[in-house]
Amino acid sequence: MTTLAAQPTRAEPDGAELEALLARCAAKDAAAFEALYQCVAPRLLAVLVKMLRRRDLAEDVLQDVFVKVWEQAGQYDRIRGRPLAWLVSIARYRAIDVQRASRPTVVLSESDMLLDPRFQMAGPADSEATGLRSALMRCLEMIAPPQRRCLLLAYENGLTHDQISRALGEPLGTVKSWVRRSLINLRRCLES
């Protein structure tokens, strides 16, 4: 009967560790697959729950994502680097496919509509303490709040142009042009 040794909470693995695990998964090493799952599944599930808004559905998608990772670990491009971004993208694109198939009614909670608290931490001390001050976060702060909210509702909540337009009460054309302009400005900022 039994067992499963206690699973200690793991620290976030660095890119090199994830790359090593992916390489072993490509060689069909089951232990590496389990280690990879334990390292990144909680983070991917957070992304999926935020997008799909249903934990059971998010967990089903999480399973599909790891089946894909097991099958396609050999396609991870080491030259590209950023293994977590590769994994997060697989999860997000799978969630987008699922959304397209089910088209749930979008109901945004109040917290989704409020200005994201992560952008209200003004002081550099706060930001350093939480370690959130990535280039992306810095550059997102340069974008006006309504436009920024469009980008976040799309990336984090998986909303379409049309859904964002309804959620914010702004015309569809306005939302589309906000997104276009914001993306170009964001890229300029990230490159500077």
Binding site: M1, T2, A30, E59, A85, I96, A154, Y155, T160, I184
Partner: protein
């Protein structure tokens, strides 16, 4: 559309990563990425940049069933890996299961004169058994006895789960830290045990999981003894 215009490519790849390209437009961009290294580079750059945002979310521990089902789908389907390291805990679980099954058979034989059937003996390994789980023959009640020293982490409790085949874990309540605990089973708990092939124990806040699914680490997974 001239995809090689840098600004257009930048915008489209950004919209793709945000999930704003849908339907035919998304499929067209998929094909472009297959054919154009420039498009692929731009797309990957956006993916890398936006990934920073996913790091700001609080991780959510998946239910035990996700790994259990994943393992069945991926590792037990004939494409099983040639190489399995001995550290694999599932392999240990299987080995321990054999030992514990023998132990349970012993317990079942010893208990045949009672109206209780053994469901499982739970422990972190066969030499550290913690609880003995028994049920009444009509499945109306569960009796759990501590058979070892149970020391939960500070401000934590152990919660028992039935793992129905193909379904989500169903809570069977908190496990006692000493002595014996008897509880009657609800209809849904009875259905879950009848459909379950395993029990699991997770570490939870003092009152039990706030979500109805295991939220803390799963420290034990045990097969349910079917002999009656």
């Amino acid at each position: 559309m001239n995809y090689e215009r840098p600004e257009l490519l930048e915008r489209l790849s950004g919209e793709y990563v945000l999930g704003l390209l849908r339907g035919a437009a998304r499929r067209r961009f998929d094909r472009l990425v297959d054919e154009s290294p420039t498009a692929r580079t731009r797309l990957q750059r956006w993916e890398d940049d936006w990934c920073a945002l996913s790091r700001t979310l609080d991780p959510i521990q998946p239910s035990a069933r996700v790994w259990a089902e994943l393992r069945r789908r991926v590792l037990d389907d004939g494409r099983a890996p040639a190489r399995r390291t001995p550290r694999r805990i599932w392999q240990l679980a299987a080995a321990a299961g054999v030992v514990a099954a023998a132990l349970i058979i012993g317990l079942v034989i010893r208990q045949q004169q009672h109206a209780l059937q053994s469901v499982a003996v739970l422990g972190t390994d066969p030499s550290h058994l913690l609880w003995q789980v028994e049920r009444s023959t009509d499945l109306a009640a569960l009796t759990i006895r501590t058979v070892g020293a149970v020391r939960p982490p500070p401000d934590k409790a152990y919660e028992l789960w039935a793992l129905p085949r193909g379904g989500s874990p169903v809570s069977l309540g908190l496990l006692p830290t000493a002595g014996k605990s008897e509880r009657s089973l609800s209809p849904s708990q009875r259905t879950a045990i009848a459909a379950a092939d395993r029990l699991a124990v997770s570490i939870e806040p003092p009152g039990g999981s706030p979500t109805g699914s295991p939220t803390g680490p799963v420290i034990i997974v045990a097969n349910i003894q079917t002999a009656g």
